[in-house]
Subunit: 256 residues, 2 copies
Protein backbone atom coordinates (compact mmCIF):
# COMPACT_ATOMS: atom_id res chain seq x y z
CA UNK A 1 0.00 0.00 0.00
CA UNK A 2 1.71 3.11 -1.23
CA UNK A 3 0.83 6.52 -2.48
CA UNK A 4 2.45 8.85 -4.96
CA UNK A 5 4.06 11.91 -3.33
CA UNK A 6 4.26 13.55 -6.75
CA UNK A 7 0.57 13.33 -7.42
CA UNK A 8 -1.40 16.54 -7.42
CA UNK A 9 -4.05 15.00 -5.20
CA UNK A 10 -4.00 15.18 -1.44
CA UNK A 11 -2.52 12.29 0.44
CA UNK A 12 -5.81 11.76 2.20
CA UNK A 13 -7.62 11.56 -1.12
CA UNK A 14 -5.11 9.08 -2.48
CA UNK A 15 -5.30 6.92 0.62
CA UNK A 16 -9.09 7.00 0.55
CA UNK A 17 -9.02 5.98 -3.10
CA UNK A 18 -6.65 3.15 -2.36
CA UNK A 19 -8.81 1.75 0.42
CA UNK A 20 -11.96 2.34 -1.59
CA UNK A 21 -10.46 0.28 -4.38
CA UNK A 22 -9.68 -2.51 -1.97
CA UNK A 23 -13.28 -2.53 -0.81
CA UNK A 24 -14.85 -2.37 -4.26
CA UNK A 25 -12.56 -5.05 -5.63
CA UNK A 26 -13.31 -7.36 -2.76
CA UNK A 27 -9.86 -7.38 -1.18
CA UNK A 28 -11.54 -6.07 1.93
CA UNK A 29 -14.70 -7.90 2.86
CA UNK A 30 -17.75 -6.72 4.71
CA UNK A 31 -17.21 -6.36 8.45
CA UNK A 32 -13.51 -6.85 8.03
CA UNK A 33 -11.42 -4.66 10.27
CA UNK A 34 -8.96 -2.25 8.75
CA UNK A 35 -5.57 -1.75 10.38
CA UNK A 36 -5.60 0.81 13.15
CA UNK A 37 -5.01 4.43 12.26
CA UNK A 38 -1.47 4.21 13.59
CA UNK A 39 -0.73 1.16 11.47
CA UNK A 40 -2.22 2.73 8.37
CA UNK A 41 -0.14 5.82 9.02
CA UNK A 42 2.93 3.59 9.06
CA UNK A 43 1.96 1.68 5.95
CA UNK A 44 1.24 4.77 3.90
CA UNK A 45 4.10 6.67 5.52
CA UNK A 46 1.97 9.63 6.55
CA UNK A 47 0.79 11.06 9.83
CA UNK A 48 -2.25 9.93 11.72
CA UNK A 49 -4.36 13.04 11.03
CA UNK A 50 -3.86 12.46 7.33
CA UNK A 51 -5.04 8.89 7.66
CA UNK A 52 -8.00 10.10 9.67
CA UNK A 53 -8.99 12.51 6.93
CA UNK A 54 -8.93 9.62 4.49
CA UNK A 55 -11.08 7.48 6.78
CA UNK A 56 -13.59 10.31 7.21
CA UNK A 57 -13.90 10.51 3.45
CA UNK A 58 -14.79 6.84 3.34
CA UNK A 59 -17.16 7.19 6.28
CA UNK A 60 -18.97 9.96 4.41
CA UNK A 61 -19.74 7.45 1.67
CA UNK A 62 -20.84 4.85 4.20
CA UNK A 63 -18.03 2.57 3.06
CA UNK A 64 -16.67 2.16 6.58
CA UNK A 65 -17.86 2.61 10.12
CA UNK A 66 -15.66 3.26 13.13
CA UNK A 67 -15.85 2.06 16.66
CA UNK A 68 -13.94 3.24 19.66
CA UNK A 69 -12.38 1.14 22.33
CA UNK A 70 -10.04 -1.80 22.68
CA UNK A 71 -11.53 -3.95 19.94
CA UNK A 72 -12.57 -0.92 17.97
CA UNK A 73 -11.28 0.41 14.69
CA UNK A 74 -12.58 0.96 11.20
CA UNK A 75 -14.68 -1.76 9.65
CA UNK A 76 -15.89 -2.25 6.12
CA UNK A 77 -19.52 -1.31 6.27
CA UNK A 78 -22.29 -3.30 4.70
CA UNK A 79 -23.93 -0.66 2.54
CA UNK A 80 -27.63 -0.87 3.24
CA UNK A 81 -30.42 0.20 0.93
CA UNK A 82 -31.52 2.74 3.52
CA UNK A 83 -28.18 4.55 3.52
CA UNK A 84 -27.91 4.32 -0.22
CA UNK A 85 -31.36 5.93 -0.50
CA UNK A 86 -30.24 8.91 1.52
CA UNK A 87 -27.13 9.52 -0.50
CA UNK A 88 -29.01 9.09 -3.69
CA UNK A 89 -31.64 11.61 -2.64
CA UNK A 90 -29.06 14.15 -1.48
CA UNK A 91 -27.06 13.81 -4.66
CA UNK A 92 -30.06 13.94 -6.95
CA UNK A 93 -31.55 16.94 -5.18
CA UNK A 94 -28.33 18.91 -5.46
CA UNK A 95 -27.84 17.83 -9.03
CA UNK A 96 -31.23 19.22 -9.97
CA UNK A 97 -30.91 22.43 -8.00
CA UNK A 98 -27.40 23.19 -9.20
CA UNK A 99 -27.71 22.46 -12.87
CA UNK A 100 -30.72 24.44 -13.89
CA UNK A 101 -32.58 21.32 -14.90
CA UNK A 102 -35.91 22.41 -16.27
CA UNK A 103 -39.04 21.28 -14.57
CA UNK A 104 -40.06 19.64 -17.79
CA UNK A 105 -36.96 17.46 -18.11
CA UNK A 106 -37.05 16.42 -14.47
CA UNK A 107 -40.73 15.64 -14.71
CA UNK A 108 -40.29 13.60 -17.83
CA UNK A 109 -37.54 11.57 -16.19
CA UNK A 110 -39.49 11.03 -13.03
CA UNK A 111 -42.58 9.69 -14.72
CA UNK A 112 -40.65 7.65 -17.25
CA UNK A 113 -38.92 5.89 -14.37
CA UNK A 114 -42.05 5.51 -12.35
CA UNK A 115 -43.92 4.05 -15.30
CA UNK A 116 -41.12 1.53 -15.75
CA UNK A 117 -42.21 -0.25 -12.62
CA UNK A 118 -45.92 0.02 -13.25
CA UNK A 119 -46.27 -3.37 -14.97
CA UNK A 120 -44.40 -5.11 -12.20
CA UNK A 121 -46.37 -3.30 -9.53
CA UNK A 122 -49.63 -4.25 -11.23
CA UNK A 123 -48.56 -7.85 -11.03
CA UNK A 124 -47.20 -7.92 -7.51
CA UNK A 125 -48.81 -5.18 -5.45
CA UNK A 126 -49.76 -6.43 -2.02
CA UNK A 127 -52.81 -5.46 0.05
CA UNK A 128 -50.29 -3.54 2.14
CA UNK A 129 -49.26 -1.38 -0.78
CA UNK A 130 -52.86 -0.65 -1.64
CA UNK A 131 -53.72 0.14 1.98
CA UNK A 132 -50.86 2.63 2.17
CA UNK A 133 -51.99 4.33 -1.00
CA UNK A 134 -55.61 4.54 0.10
CA UNK A 135 -54.59 5.89 3.48
CA UNK A 136 -52.58 8.62 1.79
CA UNK A 137 -55.44 9.43 -0.54
CA UNK A 138 -57.69 9.80 2.45
CA UNK A 139 -55.20 12.13 4.08
CA UNK A 140 -54.90 14.15 0.91
CA UNK A 141 -58.66 14.67 0.87
CA UNK A 142 -58.74 16.35 4.25
CA UNK A 143 -59.27 20.09 3.94
CA UNK A 144 -57.06 21.20 6.82
CA UNK A 145 -53.94 19.58 5.41
CA UNK A 146 -50.93 21.86 5.01
CA UNK A 147 -49.19 22.11 1.68
CA UNK A 148 -46.06 20.46 3.03
CA UNK A 149 -48.02 17.54 4.44
CA UNK A 150 -49.82 17.12 1.13
CA UNK A 151 -46.49 16.93 -0.69
CA UNK A 152 -45.07 14.44 1.78
CA UNK A 153 -48.18 12.33 1.41
CA UNK A 154 -47.80 12.49 -2.35
CA UNK A 155 -44.29 11.11 -2.08
CA UNK A 156 -45.40 8.34 0.25
CA UNK A 157 -48.10 7.28 -2.16
CA UNK A 158 -45.78 7.12 -5.10
CA UNK A 159 -43.20 5.29 -3.06
CA UNK A 160 -45.84 2.71 -2.21
CA UNK A 161 -46.53 2.27 -5.91
CA UNK A 162 -42.85 1.80 -6.62
CA UNK A 163 -42.43 -0.61 -3.74
CA UNK A 164 -45.31 -2.56 -5.20
CA UNK A 165 -42.93 -3.75 -7.89
CA UNK A 166 -41.21 -5.72 -5.12
CA UNK A 167 -37.78 -5.06 -6.54
CA UNK A 168 -35.38 -3.46 -4.10
CA UNK A 169 -33.03 -2.30 -6.80
CA UNK A 170 -35.84 -0.54 -8.59
CA UNK A 171 -37.04 1.05 -5.37
CA UNK A 172 -33.57 2.30 -4.67
CA UNK A 173 -33.13 3.80 -8.11
CA UNK A 174 -36.55 5.39 -8.03
CA UNK A 175 -36.08 6.94 -4.60
CA UNK A 176 -33.77 9.57 -5.97
CA UNK A 177 -36.05 10.44 -8.83
CA UNK A 178 -39.18 10.79 -6.74
CA UNK A 179 -37.72 12.57 -3.73
CA UNK A 180 -35.45 14.87 -5.64
CA UNK A 181 -38.43 16.11 -7.59
CA UNK A 182 -40.14 17.20 -4.41
CA UNK A 183 -38.65 20.72 -4.23
CA UNK A 184 -39.61 21.33 -7.83
CA UNK A 185 -43.06 19.94 -7.21
CA UNK A 186 -43.51 22.27 -4.28
CA UNK A 187 -43.02 25.19 -6.59
CA UNK A 188 -46.28 24.17 -8.17
CA UNK A 189 -48.15 22.90 -5.16
CA UNK A 190 -47.86 26.22 -3.44
CA UNK A 191 -49.56 27.87 -6.34
CA UNK A 192 -51.78 26.25 -8.86
CA UNK A 193 -52.11 22.59 -8.11
CA UNK A 194 -55.63 21.39 -7.69
CA UNK A 195 -55.77 18.89 -4.89
CA UNK A 196 -59.09 17.56 -6.03
CA UNK A 197 -57.83 16.53 -9.43
CA UNK A 198 -54.71 14.99 -7.95
CA UNK A 199 -56.75 12.97 -5.49
CA UNK A 200 -58.99 11.78 -8.31
CA UNK A 201 -56.05 10.58 -10.32
CA UNK A 202 -54.47 8.96 -7.29
CA UNK A 203 -57.72 7.09 -6.71
CA UNK A 204 -57.86 5.99 -10.31
CA UNK A 205 -54.26 4.88 -10.04
CA UNK A 206 -54.89 2.83 -6.94
CA UNK A 207 -58.00 1.24 -8.40
CA UNK A 208 -56.13 0.26 -11.53
CA UNK A 209 -53.38 -1.21 -9.42
CA UNK A 210 -55.85 -3.15 -7.35
CA UNK A 211 -57.43 -4.49 -10.54
CA UNK A 212 -53.94 -5.44 -11.73
CA UNK A 213 -54.62 -3.50 -14.88
CA UNK A 214 -51.11 -2.57 -15.97
CA UNK A 215 -52.26 -0.63 -18.98
CA UNK A 216 -54.65 1.51 -17.00
CA UNK A 217 -51.97 2.20 -14.40
CA UNK A 218 -49.68 3.34 -17.16
CA UNK A 219 -52.35 5.52 -18.72
CA UNK A 220 -53.16 7.13 -15.40
CA UNK A 221 -49.52 7.89 -14.79
CA UNK A 222 -49.35 9.48 -18.22
CA UNK A 223 -52.40 11.53 -17.37
CA UNK A 224 -50.76 12.63 -14.13
CA UNK A 225 -47.58 13.50 -15.95
CA UNK A 226 -49.43 15.52 -18.56
CA UNK A 227 -51.31 17.43 -15.90
CA UNK A 228 -48.14 18.13 -13.93
CA UNK A 229 -46.17 19.26 -16.93
CA UNK A 230 -49.00 21.47 -18.15
CA UNK A 231 -49.05 23.08 -14.76
CA UNK A 232 -45.33 23.59 -15.03
CA UNK A 233 -45.75 25.30 -18.38
CA UNK A 234 -48.47 27.60 -17.16
CA UNK A 235 -46.36 28.57 -14.16
CA UNK A 236 -43.37 29.21 -16.39
CA UNK A 237 -45.49 31.41 -18.63
CA UNK A 238 -47.09 33.36 -15.83
CA UNK A 239 -43.94 33.84 -13.79
CA UNK A 240 -40.95 32.90 -15.92
CA UNK A 241 -38.20 33.99 -13.53
CA UNK A 242 -38.77 32.63 -10.12
CA UNK A 243 -36.33 33.80 -7.51
CA UNK A 244 -33.98 31.37 -5.84
CA UNK A 245 -35.27 32.62 -2.52
CA UNK A 246 -38.81 31.48 -3.19
CA UNK A 247 -37.62 28.12 -4.37
CA UNK A 248 -35.52 27.71 -1.31
CA UNK A 249 -38.39 28.59 0.96
CA UNK A 250 -40.69 26.11 -0.68
CA UNK A 251 -38.01 23.47 -0.50
CA UNK A 252 -37.15 23.89 3.15
CA UNK A 253 -40.75 23.87 4.22
CA UNK A 254 -41.19 20.19 3.60
CA UNK A 255 -38.62 19.09 6.16
CA UNK A 256 -39.96 17.58 9.31
Amino acid sequence: MKIDPESSADFSAQIAQSIRGAIVSGDLLVDQRLPSEAELADQFAVSRPTVREALKRLAAQSLIRTQRGATGGAFVNRLRFEEAYDQQVTTSTLLLSMNSVSFDVACEARFALERSCAPLAAKRRTPDNLATMRAEIHRQSQPGLTDEAFCASDVTLHRALVDGAANKVLSYQLAGAVEAMQPLMNMITFTARSRERIVDMHTELTNALEAKDAILVDQTLIKLETYTRDLGHSIATANPVRSKKQLKKASSKRKK
Copy 2:
Protein backbone atom coordinates in the same frame (compact mmCIF):
# COMPACT_ATOMS: atom_id res chain seq x y z
CA MET B 1 -23.42 27.70 13.85
CA LYS B 2 -23.20 25.39 16.80
CA ILE B 3 -22.94 21.71 17.54
CA ASP B 4 -24.15 19.57 20.37
CA PRO B 5 -21.33 18.33 22.63
CA GLU B 6 -23.74 15.80 24.13
CA SER B 7 -24.61 14.18 20.85
CA SER B 8 -23.35 10.68 20.25
CA ALA B 9 -22.06 11.65 16.82
CA ASP B 10 -18.56 12.88 16.16
CA PHE B 11 -17.99 16.60 16.04
CA SER B 12 -16.73 16.28 12.51
CA ALA B 13 -19.91 14.47 11.47
CA GLN B 14 -22.08 17.10 13.11
CA ILE B 15 -20.16 19.93 11.51
CA ALA B 16 -20.34 18.27 8.14
CA GLN B 17 -24.07 17.80 8.55
CA SER B 18 -24.49 21.42 9.51
CA ILE B 19 -22.63 22.69 6.47
CA ARG B 20 -24.32 20.14 4.24
CA GLY B 21 -27.65 21.47 5.41
CA ALA B 22 -26.59 24.99 4.59
CA ILE B 23 -25.68 23.92 1.07
CA VAL B 24 -28.78 21.85 0.42
CA SER B 25 -31.09 24.55 1.78
CA GLY B 26 -29.45 27.19 -0.34
CA ASP B 27 -27.92 29.24 2.46
CA LEU B 28 -24.59 28.59 0.79
CA LEU B 29 -24.63 29.12 -2.94
CA VAL B 30 -22.56 27.53 -5.65
CA ASP B 31 -18.98 28.81 -5.77
CA GLN B 32 -19.44 30.63 -2.51
CA ARG B 33 -16.43 30.51 -0.27
CA LEU B 34 -16.73 28.99 3.17
CA PRO B 35 -14.93 30.60 6.10
CA SER B 36 -11.33 29.47 6.45
CA GLU B 37 -10.62 26.39 8.49
CA ALA B 38 -9.36 28.54 11.36
CA GLU B 39 -12.53 30.63 11.33
CA LEU B 40 -14.74 27.54 11.20
CA ALA B 41 -12.80 26.08 14.10
CA ASP B 42 -13.58 29.24 16.04
CA GLN B 43 -17.25 29.30 15.08
CA PHE B 44 -17.83 25.68 15.99
CA ALA B 45 -15.47 25.89 18.95
CA VAL B 46 -13.41 22.91 17.90
CA SER B 47 -9.87 22.39 16.71
CA ARG B 48 -8.71 22.76 13.15
CA PRO B 49 -8.13 19.05 12.51
CA THR B 50 -11.72 18.39 13.50
CA VAL B 51 -12.93 21.00 11.06
CA ARG B 52 -10.71 19.50 8.40
CA GLU B 53 -12.22 16.06 8.94
CA ALA B 54 -15.65 17.58 8.44
CA LEU B 55 -14.54 19.30 5.24
CA LYS B 56 -13.06 16.07 3.89
CA ARG B 57 -16.39 14.38 4.46
CA LEU B 58 -18.05 17.02 2.33
CA ALA B 59 -15.32 16.81 -0.28
CA ALA B 60 -15.90 13.06 -0.53
CA GLN B 61 -19.47 13.81 -1.58
CA SER B 62 -18.30 16.44 -4.05
CA LEU B 63 -20.18 19.09 -2.10
CA ILE B 64 -17.12 21.29 -1.74
CA ARG B 65 -13.75 21.71 -3.37
CA THR B 66 -10.68 23.19 -1.74
CA GLN B 67 -7.96 25.41 -3.08
CA ARG B 68 -4.70 26.36 -1.49
CA GLY B 69 -3.16 29.76 -1.41
CA ALA B 70 -3.98 33.32 -0.46
CA THR B 71 -7.42 33.47 -2.06
CA GLY B 72 -7.98 29.76 -1.52
CA GLY B 73 -10.32 28.01 0.82
CA ALA B 74 -13.28 25.71 0.57
CA PHE B 75 -15.91 26.51 -2.02
CA VAL B 76 -19.35 25.13 -2.59
CA ASN B 77 -18.94 22.86 -5.57
CA ARG B 78 -21.28 22.77 -8.50
CA LEU B 79 -22.18 19.10 -8.58
CA ARG B 80 -21.78 17.98 -12.17
CA PHE B 81 -23.52 15.09 -13.83
CA GLU B 82 -20.14 13.48 -14.44
CA GLU B 83 -19.25 13.38 -10.73
CA ALA B 84 -22.74 12.29 -9.81
CA TYR B 85 -22.44 9.40 -12.30
CA ASP B 86 -19.31 8.16 -10.61
CA GLN B 87 -20.78 8.24 -7.14
CA GLN B 88 -23.91 6.53 -8.37
CA VAL B 89 -21.97 3.78 -10.01
CA THR B 90 -19.78 3.21 -6.97
CA THR B 91 -22.74 3.17 -4.63
CA SER B 92 -24.87 0.95 -6.84
CA THR B 93 -22.06 -1.49 -7.45
CA LEU B 94 -21.38 -1.90 -3.74
CA LEU B 95 -25.05 -2.10 -2.97
CA LEU B 96 -25.44 -5.01 -5.33
CA SER B 97 -22.31 -6.84 -4.27
CA MET B 98 -22.95 -6.43 -0.54
CA ASN B 99 -26.61 -7.31 -0.35
CA SER B 100 -26.78 -10.59 -2.15
CA VAL B 101 -29.06 -9.15 -4.78
CA SER B 102 -29.95 -11.94 -7.11
CA PHE B 103 -28.98 -11.68 -10.72
CA ASP B 104 -32.63 -11.97 -11.59
CA VAL B 105 -33.73 -8.99 -9.53
CA ALA B 106 -30.89 -6.80 -10.73
CA CYS B 107 -31.54 -7.79 -14.30
CA GLU B 108 -35.23 -7.07 -14.03
CA ALA B 109 -34.51 -3.63 -12.62
CA ARG B 110 -31.93 -2.81 -15.22
CA PHE B 111 -34.12 -3.64 -18.18
CA ALA B 112 -37.21 -2.08 -16.67
CA LEU B 113 -35.29 1.17 -16.32
CA GLU B 114 -33.72 0.92 -19.72
CA ARG B 115 -37.06 0.25 -21.35
CA SER B 116 -38.44 3.35 -19.67
CA CYS B 117 -36.38 5.53 -21.94
CA ALA B 118 -36.97 3.50 -25.07
CA PRO B 119 -39.99 5.53 -26.29
CA LEU B 120 -38.13 8.80 -25.80
CA ALA B 121 -35.04 7.45 -27.48
CA ALA B 122 -37.08 6.23 -30.42
CA LYS B 123 -38.37 9.75 -30.84
CA ARG B 124 -35.17 11.71 -30.34
CA ARG B 125 -32.21 9.50 -31.21
CA THR B 126 -29.64 11.41 -33.24
CA PRO B 127 -27.47 10.10 -36.07
CA ASP B 128 -24.69 10.35 -33.52
CA ASN B 129 -26.38 7.90 -31.18
CA LEU B 130 -26.97 5.47 -34.01
CA ALA B 131 -23.39 5.80 -35.23
CA THR B 132 -22.07 5.02 -31.77
CA MET B 133 -24.25 1.96 -31.51
CA ARG B 134 -23.29 0.66 -34.94
CA ALA B 135 -19.63 1.23 -34.20
CA GLU B 136 -19.94 -0.81 -31.04
CA ILE B 137 -21.81 -3.55 -32.85
CA HIS B 138 -18.99 -3.68 -35.37
CA ARG B 139 -16.46 -3.95 -32.59
CA GLN B 140 -18.46 -6.69 -30.93
CA SER B 141 -18.39 -8.71 -34.14
CA GLN B 142 -14.62 -8.87 -34.29
CA PRO B 143 -13.34 -12.30 -33.32
CA GLY B 144 -10.19 -11.21 -31.51
CA LEU B 145 -12.04 -9.09 -28.98
CA THR B 146 -11.34 -9.88 -25.37
CA ASP B 147 -14.19 -10.60 -23.00
CA GLU B 148 -13.56 -7.40 -21.05
CA ALA B 149 -13.61 -5.30 -24.19
CA PHE B 150 -16.84 -6.94 -25.28
CA CYS B 151 -18.45 -6.06 -21.96
CA ALA B 152 -17.25 -2.49 -22.09
CA SER B 153 -18.57 -2.18 -25.61
CA ASP B 154 -21.88 -3.57 -24.44
CA VAL B 155 -22.12 -0.84 -21.81
CA THR B 156 -21.22 1.84 -24.32
CA LEU B 157 -23.94 0.69 -26.66
CA HIS B 158 -26.61 0.70 -23.99
CA ARG B 159 -25.45 4.07 -22.75
CA ALA B 160 -25.84 5.42 -26.27
CA LEU B 161 -29.40 4.12 -26.31
CA VAL B 162 -30.12 5.78 -23.00
CA ASP B 163 -28.51 9.03 -24.09
CA GLY B 164 -30.75 8.90 -27.13
CA ALA B 165 -33.61 9.88 -24.86
CA ALA B 166 -31.86 13.25 -24.59
CA ASN B 167 -32.74 13.62 -20.95
CA LYS B 168 -29.77 14.21 -18.68
CA VAL B 169 -31.67 13.24 -15.56
CA LEU B 170 -32.64 9.93 -17.10
CA SER B 171 -29.09 9.31 -18.27
CA TYR B 172 -27.82 9.99 -14.79
CA GLN B 173 -30.29 7.65 -13.15
CA LEU B 174 -29.66 4.93 -15.67
CA ALA B 175 -25.89 5.10 -15.39
CA GLY B 176 -25.97 3.43 -12.02
CA ALA B 177 -28.25 0.69 -13.19
CA VAL B 178 -26.31 -0.16 -16.32
CA GLU B 179 -22.80 0.08 -14.96
CA ALA B 180 -23.49 -1.56 -11.65
CA MET B 181 -24.81 -4.58 -13.50
CA GLN B 182 -21.53 -5.03 -15.30
CA PRO B 183 -19.83 -7.24 -12.70
CA LEU B 184 -22.86 -9.49 -12.61
CA MET B 185 -23.01 -9.53 -16.39
CA ASN B 186 -19.39 -10.57 -16.54
CA MET B 187 -20.22 -13.64 -14.57
CA ILE B 188 -22.17 -14.73 -17.58
CA THR B 189 -20.06 -13.33 -20.36
CA PHE B 190 -17.08 -15.31 -19.25
CA THR B 191 -19.01 -18.48 -19.60
CA ALA B 192 -22.08 -19.03 -21.63
CA ARG B 193 -22.96 -15.86 -23.43
CA SER B 194 -23.22 -16.20 -27.16
CA ARG B 195 -21.76 -13.14 -28.78
CA GLU B 196 -23.46 -13.87 -32.04
CA ARG B 197 -26.93 -13.75 -30.58
CA ILE B 198 -26.14 -10.62 -28.61
CA VAL B 199 -24.83 -8.88 -31.72
CA ASP B 200 -27.96 -9.89 -33.60
CA MET B 201 -30.18 -8.41 -30.96
CA HIS B 202 -28.08 -5.27 -30.77
CA THR B 203 -28.45 -4.87 -34.50
CA GLU B 204 -32.18 -5.37 -34.31
CA LEU B 205 -32.30 -2.83 -31.51
CA THR B 206 -30.38 -0.23 -33.46
CA ASN B 207 -32.46 -0.77 -36.58
CA ALA B 208 -35.65 -0.34 -34.60
CA LEU B 209 -34.28 2.82 -33.08
CA GLU B 210 -33.31 4.17 -36.47
CA ALA B 211 -36.81 3.42 -37.72
CA LYS B 212 -38.17 5.24 -34.67
CA ASP B 213 -40.22 2.16 -33.92
CA ALA B 214 -40.71 2.47 -30.17
CA ILE B 215 -42.66 -0.75 -29.89
CA LEU B 216 -40.03 -2.80 -31.67
CA VAL B 217 -37.30 -1.26 -29.52
CA ASP B 218 -39.24 -2.27 -26.46
CA GLN B 219 -39.81 -5.79 -27.74
CA THR B 220 -36.15 -6.23 -28.57
CA LEU B 221 -35.17 -5.09 -25.12
CA ILE B 222 -37.59 -7.61 -23.68
CA LYS B 223 -36.04 -10.28 -25.85
CA LEU B 224 -32.59 -9.30 -24.62
CA GLU B 225 -33.78 -9.35 -21.05
CA THR B 226 -35.34 -12.77 -21.46
CA TYR B 227 -32.18 -14.15 -23.00
CA THR B 228 -30.00 -12.66 -20.28
CA ARG B 229 -32.19 -13.90 -17.47
CA ASP B 230 -32.44 -17.37 -18.98
CA LEU B 231 -28.68 -17.45 -19.12
CA GLY B 232 -28.60 -16.42 -15.50
CA HIS B 233 -30.89 -19.26 -14.57
CA SER B 234 -28.90 -21.84 -16.46
CA ILE B 235 -25.70 -20.66 -14.81
CA ALA B 236 -27.32 -20.78 -11.41
CA THR B 237 -28.46 -24.32 -12.07
CA ALA B 238 -25.17 -25.56 -13.44
CA ASN B 239 -22.94 -23.86 -10.91
CA PRO B 240 -25.05 -22.60 -8.03
CA VAL B 241 -22.26 -21.50 -5.73
CA ARG B 242 -19.78 -19.34 -7.52
CA SER B 243 -16.83 -18.27 -5.47
CA LYS B 244 -16.30 -14.64 -4.58
CA LYS B 245 -12.82 -14.94 -6.00
CA GLN B 246 -14.03 -15.71 -9.49
CA LEU B 247 -16.51 -12.89 -9.37
CA LYS B 248 -13.87 -10.50 -8.23
CA LYS B 249 -11.52 -11.52 -10.98
CA ALA B 250 -14.18 -11.08 -13.62
CA SER B 251 -15.10 -7.72 -12.20
CA SER B 252 -11.61 -6.28 -11.98
CA LYS B 253 -10.78 -7.36 -15.49
CA ARG B 254 -13.04 -4.79 -17.05
CA LYS B 255 -11.17 -1.80 -15.66
CA LYS B 256 -9.12 0.16 -18.13
